[in-house]
Symmetry: C2
């Protein structure tokens, strides 16, 4: 989770949404990323998507053994990506700022663990106070 928070901080430092993610397979980080809405004008590079993309094309046998660490509860798009690729587990930094599609993940057999990490929450709070309209756009509201 520390590596995901580092990614979130990197995003914050770039003026972007401070949401980070890493993909771990057999104890090794094979992908990492952060939200790129502000930096690249991207509507699909949420942290988890950017992280999955950075890991490149992987066989189902790898995804199955993977855990996605994300600093914020994953939205329907990112949850859908985890379901598509058969990710085994998702560790969530916090879901106080935003409750994603955790129920959907669980209903599809993905193990979801919520950590409620203060560092993740504080980064989001700082960003949303500064740019509420960008945050609203990021979650489609």
């Amino acid at each position: 989770m520390e590596a995901a928070i580092d990614e979130a901080r990197k995003g914050f430092g770039e003026g972007g949404l401070p949401i980070g993610s890493v993909l771990v397979c057999d104890g090794r980080i094979i992908g990492r990323g952060h939200n790129r809405r502000v930096q690249d004008g991207s509507v699909i590079h949420h942290a988890e998507m950017n992280c999955l993309e950075s890991a490149g094309r992987q066989p189902a046998s790898v995804y199955r053994r993977c855990t996605v660490y994300t600093t914020l509860s994953p939205c329907p798009m990112c949850s859908g990506a985890m379901i598509l690729y058969g990710i085994g587990k998702c560790v969530v930094g916090e879901n106080r700022t935003f409750m994603g599609a955790e129920d959907l993940l669980r209903s599809k057999g993905v193990e979801v663990v919520v950590r409620d990490e203060e560092a993740c929450f504080a980064l989001m709070k700082a960003f949303i106070e500064r740019s509420p309209e960008v945050w609203n756009e990021d979650i489609g509201t």
Copy 2:
């Protein structure tokens, strides 16, 4: 749908998965794209995602009035993206090759219309006969 099929054909011509998509708002195409797994080594640029990305950052008020046309039934990731952004309607070329998360879309209030277009089916059949392993990878199996 013709424009989405054109995108699928473009993908096929590039050696890629022949799945295309366009985003229509108030009768005008504001985004278009096709699957980029083979061409860019992308795991997130499914046709619908590539199409949404090409439309750029849009407010919720625009997405709400949008229809996504896609040549193939949308997977959980692409369906999740439509749910995230509050897309109003999704028109599907065919769902014989692959049944996506149409039930999930409907449960979230997205209108889903399935066309069962022979051209969409024929493109997928030709690709899967040529590269079954790439197709399996694309749907996480």
